[in-house]
């Protein structure tokens, strides 16, 4: 970056800046490393010396315990199932709505966009949402997690803006070749928008995997719970000294290492998605926002 003669102040700033940023990065990383290390430690080791960054005798006991205790393993499968279907519904409905909205010649487009943007500013709120889901008979069914959040207005606008920037010529050429708009979306617009699609898939998937509140509200049957809800029961409620939920009457308080292992299995699957999509998301997120 240009001229090399740095002042003393400038150099001091650089040193402190690097130092500060390193500390920030470590603060983000250390708690996670502690949890991962702790989950591989034996219970005895964790209770004797508290600070375990490298377990002396790494063991898979807590993971074995999780896999053998049906409920956590089951909730992990539930989470995977919920997330995959939810994300598929999200992407399908968002793409199908974003494409027509990206066609500037479409009549009524402005009104529909206004209707969408308003939902960013004002919502019905918790109780009306709950009553609607109940009215529709979706309680205790995964549809209560899939349908009410099918399209995030913010993501819809992002994708619409991206489609809008695709060159018009290709679309016209396809029209002349006899493609209808649906075919143009599938064969042309989507393949050209892979960075955006990847970014949105990531956003939706992370949101779906991490969400716990709708499940807590709509799903009463604990066998259907996703792992995040169980995590709340096992790690938070037990520690806060609450009476644990009625569903858990015959549930034994798990050892500390198991809690750490549950945190790991609830987190690592979604973290693994990140590197695969990483090269796309920054690009996709930005491209969609250049022009409105």
């Amino acid at each position: 970056m240009g001229a090399r003669h740095q002042t003393w102040g400038s150099r001091t700033f650089d040193i402190f800046n690097h130092l500060f940023l390193s500390i920030i990065a470590l603060l983000m990383l250390l708690p996670l490393l502690y949890v991962i290390a702790g989950s591989f430690a034996s219970d005895a080791e964790l209770s004797v010396k508290q600070i375990v960054l490298i377990p002396t005798e790494p063991t898979l006991d807590s993971y074995r315990y999780i896999l053998s205790s049906g409920i956590i393993f089951r909730s992990l499968l539930n989470s995977i199932f919920i997330t995959v279907i939810a994300t598929a519904i999200n992407m399908l409905s968002t793409a199908i709505m974003a494409y027509p909205l990206s066609r500037v010649t479409l009549m009524g487009r402005g009104w529909i966009m206004k209707m969408v943007v308003f939902t960013l500013l004002f919502q019905g709120g918790l109780i009306p949402n709950y009553l609607l889901v109940r009215e529709l008979g979706l309680l205790d069914s995964y549809w209560s997690l899939w349908l009410p959040g099918a399209i995030a207005a913010f993501n819809l606008i992002l994708l619409k803006n991206f489609f809008q920037q695709l060159p018009d010529g290709i679309e016209e050429a396809a029209k002349i070749d006899g493609c209808n708009d649906m075919q143009i979306l599938i064969r042309i617009a989507l393949p050209l928008s892979m960075p955006s699609i990847a970014a949105l898939t990531l956003f939706y998937a992370v949101g779906n995997w991490n969400s716990y509140f709708p499940a807590l509200m709509y799903i009463g049957d604990s066998l259907k719970w996703p792992i995040q809800v169980w995590l709340r029961q096992i790690v938070i409620l037990s520690q806060a000294g609450f009476d644990v939920n009625a569903n858990m009457e015959d549930y034994v308080q798990p050892p500390e290492t198991t809690k750490l292992a549950v945190i790991c299995v609830a987190t690592i699957p979604i973290l693994m998605v990140y590197p695969f999509l990483q090269k796309y998301f920054a690009k996709g997120m930005l491209l969609g926002s250049v022009k409105g």
């Binding site: 990383l29 992002l158 520690q239 945190i263």
Partner: protein, 321 residues
């Protein structure tokens, strides 16, 4: 970012309905596939976004599920009067407001500052590594973040208290302590989202012409002056847009998080409108009253966005709508 919520595009004059209906029909037929594709989405928004807004009517009723929205008795503003005279009201109002202000004062500027510092780093490898690490917490759910907090800070052998005691200090029971509740909430928010929040600013900064810095340096401008005169103006409009959007959710600063953090011992500082709606409405079954509470909160939020957007336009900035 700054334009993504901004839609100017209208049907061009040639395509607009026009005077005669046949042209209107022609456009409909020409775009039949587009309308077909639009249909499920519009239906979704009407049902799942505007349906609950219609459901807000019950805030003015004595809603009874058996009678439904149309059959329930209309009671006007009775639930709102009850809310305003409830002794709990001021506690809720204060707690919500303080958390919101903490959020704006401490959390909102954090990603901006971090992005400015990252922008000053010239070693590409260092910058990329730091970026990669600080994005990670964004992918972690609130139950995990709060759970992590419990595991790390508990007085029953949590690592943080072990370190404090090891250094000769007194153990801190931050989880059960009223005064620690708000700082804890803000600290969790910053930990989880500060890194992710830098993306949008770093993107705006990447668009700054490097020659500006070079000529500023030629003129003898220090790093601080460069930051103040070149870097900050470059992200000004992004900051304003994000600020307006933030105000839009001013009144609900992180329900999913607060819900997990509130317990019997910190309810006095932790109970906010949203958690109150949950316990009175969903647990207590007082649907109408709790809907009124939620509506009151949403209206304040809406007013704040409208005001902020006005203000932004007054300052010649682009608003969100």
């Amino acid at each position: 970012m700054n334009k993504q919520l901004h839609m100017k595009a209208r049907p061009t004059s040639t395509e607009q309905g026009g005077r005669n209906g046949s042209r209107f029909l022609k456009t409909l037929i020409r775009d039949k596939w587009l309308y077909l594709m639009l249909f499920p989405g519009v239906f979704y928004f009407l049902l799942f976004k505007y349906g609950p807004m219609y459901g807000l009517i019950i805030a003015f009723q004595n809603f009874q599920p058996v009678l439904g929205v149309s059959g329930s008795e209309f009671v006007g503003f009775r639930h709102f009067t009850r809310l305003f005279t409830e002794p709990m009201f001021w506690t809720l109002f204060r707690n919500t407001l303080i958390l919101a202000v903490y959020n704006i004062v401490f959390f909102f500027p954090a990603p901006i500052l971090l992005a400015l510092l990252l922008n000053e780093v010239r070693m590409k490898f260092f910058k990329n590594t730091v970026q990669m690490l600080i994005y990670i917490p964004h992918f972690i759910s609130w139950p995990v973040v709060v759970g992590l907090c419990y595991v790390l800070f508990t007085i029953n052998g949590g690592i943080v208290n072990e370190i404090i005691i090891g250094l000769g200090g007194n153990e801190l029971n931050v989880l059960m302590n009223e005064s620690a509740f708000r700082p804890m909430i803000v600290a969790q928010q910053i930990w989880k989202e500060v890194g992710w929040g830098t993306i949008i600013f770093l993107a705006a900064l990447a668009g700054v012409n490097v020659e500006l810095y070079e000529s500023a340096r030629m003129d003898g401008a220090s790093r601080w002056r460069q930051m103040y005169h070149i870097t900050l103006p470059a992200i000004r409009s992004t900051i304003i847009i994000l600020f307006i959007l933030r105000l839009g959710s001013f009144m609900d600063s992180g329900f999913e998080q607060i819900f997990l953090m509130v317990n019997a011992l910190n309810r006095n500082v932790g109970e906010v409108f949203d958690t109150y709606v949950y316990s009175v409405g969903l647990i207590g079954g007082q649907f109408s009253y709790s809907t009124a509470v939620g509506l009151f909160k949403s209206i304040i939020g809406l007013l704040l966005v409208v005001a902020a957007n006005r203000l932004a336009k007054l300052w010649d900035e682009e608003g969100v709508y």
